[in-house]
Subunit: 84 residues, 2 copies
């Protein structure tokens, strides 16, 4: 059993209106040191696979097919073994 | 200058309909090994502060006041120094 911690971020060249809004909010609250904000998604997926390579392959395919939009987003993930 | 990588997740006891929807989608695509999915947010904030302790304090306050809802969400972050 593995826990995949998946990070999905917008590609650097893609506009991020949500990030800009957060940045504006932080400035309004007085956090003037904030230079830039990029927003993304964080997804934890628990998979019942005992082989690490197989789990990695499956999670990679999940990201490609559903969790990230490869046109505008990048993804990366870490696998953590869960002792059951 | 520091880059804060912030992870905001729902507290374990809080319902996560988005996670359930993703889980359903993954099952529909044939990923039967998926046991559970939890969704969250990933935010990168660049702060122009040279002192690490001060940056940590500021980012902590940002999370508390704007980025996370402390009633239903937990957050954690990592600081990475950026050489400019």
């Amino acid at each position: 059993m593995y826990l995949a911690k998946i990070y999905v971020t917008l590609k650097p060249t893609v506009n991020d209106p949500q990030g800009l809004t957060i940045k504006g909010g932080l400035h309004t609250l007085g956090f003037d040191s904030v230079q830039s904000v990029r927003s993304g998604k964080y997804i934890e997926v628990r998979v019942d696979i005992s082989d690490r390579a197989k789990a990695e392959e499956q999670v990679n395919e999940m990201c490609d097919r559903l969790l990230a939009n490869p046109v505008i987003e990048d993804f990366r993930f870490e696998l953590e073994e869960i002792k059951s």
